[in-house]
Amino acid sequence: MQTKKIKWTRILLEAAFLVVLFSLVQYSISTHMLSQYYQINLTSMCINIILAVSLSLINGFTGQLSLGHAGFMAVGAYTAVIMTTKLDYPFLAALVGALFAAGLAGFVIGVPTLRLKGDYLAIATLALGEIIRVVLQNIDYVNGPAGISGIPKLTTWAWLFGGVVLTLLVVVNLVNSSYGRAIISVREDEIAAELMGINTTKYKVLAFVIGAGFAGLAGALYGHYFYIIKPETFNFLKSFDILVMVVLGGLGSTTGAVIAAIFITILTAALQPFPEIRMIIYALILIVVMIYRPQGLMGNKEFSRQTLGRIWGGRQ
């Protein structure tokens, strides 16, 4: 009874925290306290969090080196934009459509490629991500290389916030379950996992599909904020950007992925005024972090209520 009460208090407190966070930002946007510049960066930050957390499920928890995440983002972006601009679906339906279309693409690509390991899988996913981009470049229906422009700005703070919360909820709840342990066992030792009764192919595909689906969601949110989408936006450099966030945060840490996504977004924004040395400083910071924290900012640890409690009260 007592523990149940504590559990509910905790859930209520967390919900209250989310509501307060959401309302504060919403208030500062409505009253124009947050300038256009900060709003754009906030949007990038949320999209980067969704991308990093979804890729960390594949790269960090399942241990499968995927370099095609931008491809899934493209599938989601194009699906959602076609649904809203050409087929007149409501935005919510377009977001769900993007999630499922990218998940389906993840399934179609994942089933054949996830037999490969390590470097081979990386090359295959890199190639397939590029194939998605090149195919989009050659479809007249979506204006080929010019892309689709004039997309209505439907992505609001509420959708971004909802997207981030949903992504985190799904990834965290999945990872902290028996299915999550099965997924992690694939990373730890695939042969031992298989011999302990884990259908490793199934769980690799599961993680790949969920990760790809949320990349699609991020793509849909992206398309409906930045007015234009074109295939070039989703090239392999975008996949590397996401990978950098995951590795920087620490493979196997969701909080690490979130922190790194926030960090990289702020860093990119802060270096905007120095275009000629921007990439040099960016690279130097990454190198320094990787030298002093080779396991990433968070390693495979999570920053949780318990950690907070320890810092706060000096006890668990």
């Binding site: 028996s178 031992a192 996992a193 011999l195 009764g197 884990i198």
Partner: protein, 255 residues
């Protein structure tokens, strides 16, 4: 009743025949040893039974089912579990999680249940935890539950590996050199442990071991393998006196 029958098993790696014409039978509840010099093909036999390798020829019948061609995880689901010669734990995970992963095949909630945190999820998780702890207690590892597997001392890692294999609830347990790297006292207590789990869980045990005191002490029957061929089989006292076995493996005493 016959539990495991292997007929004419053959496996070659390139030009090297690792296992040739391997015939083998094992009864329910039996404890059988497989011995032989290094490179004789013992571990290959284990890898063939558990599906890590596909045999070139032959049949592996376990409780009436042919295991040849099955994926390792479905062989595990049939009731065969194993440990490894070089310990293969999930190093970065806790002792408890190592065993919980082996309990996954009986998970009682769906992926959706996990995502939604349904009551079935909490009930299922509680059951997995309870089961996993039960297996840790058998091996007196319950107070190490939160330690990372890689931080355990060697002997405890070996024990954790056996308890993880047991958590898949096998009817045949395959142990690949369980006493490797253990001192005589540890080997002795391992011997008692093997006898105990066999009684307690009603399992058949097949083991590879180089420690002759363990093999002769616990095994009811022994197969001797050399260069991929069975050179002898029988009771421990018979095996001890085969000249071929002495030449190939046991060696003669110096006079």
């Amino acid at each position: 009743m016959t539990m495991l029958t292997i007929n004419k098993l053959h496996k070659a790696f390139g030009g090297l025949s690792a296992v040739m014409n391997f015939n083998f039978q094992m009864e329910q509840d039996e404890l059988v040893g497989l011995i032989g010099p290094n490179g004789a093909g013992k571990t290959t036999v284990f890898n063939l039974i558990t599906g890590v390798y596909k045999p070139d020829q032959g049949q592996i019948i376990f409780e009436g089912q042919n295991l040849v061609g099955m994926a390792p995880y479905s062989i595990c689901a049939q009731g065969v579990a194993r440990t490894f010669q070089n310990i293969r734990l999930f190093n970065e995970l806790s002792v408890l999680d190592n065993v919980k992963i082996a309990c996954h095949k009986n998970v009682q909630y769906s992926v959706l249940g996990a995502l939604m945190r349904t009551p079935a999820f909490f009930k299922g998780e509680a059951k997995i935890e309870q089961d996993a702890l039960k297996f840790l207690e058998v091996f007196k590892l319950e107070n190490k539950r939160d330690e990372l597997a890689k931080n355990l001392p060697y002997g405890e890692q070996r024990r954790l590996e056996i308890s993880r294999a047991l958590a898949t609830q096998p009817r045949l347990l395959i142990l690949d050199e369980p006493a490797a790297g253990m001192n005589p006292q540890e080997t002795n207590s391992l011997m008692k442990l093997i006898e105990m789990i066999r009684r307690e869980f009603g399992l058949a045990v097949l083991l590879i071991e180089h420690d002759m005191s363990l093999v002769m002490g616990v095994c009811e029957r022994i197969y001797v393998l050399d260069y991929g061929l069975i050179i002898a089989k029988g009771l421990p006292q018979e095996i001890r006196n085969y000249t071929q076995v002495i030449e190939a493996y046991l060696g003669e005493e110096l006079n």
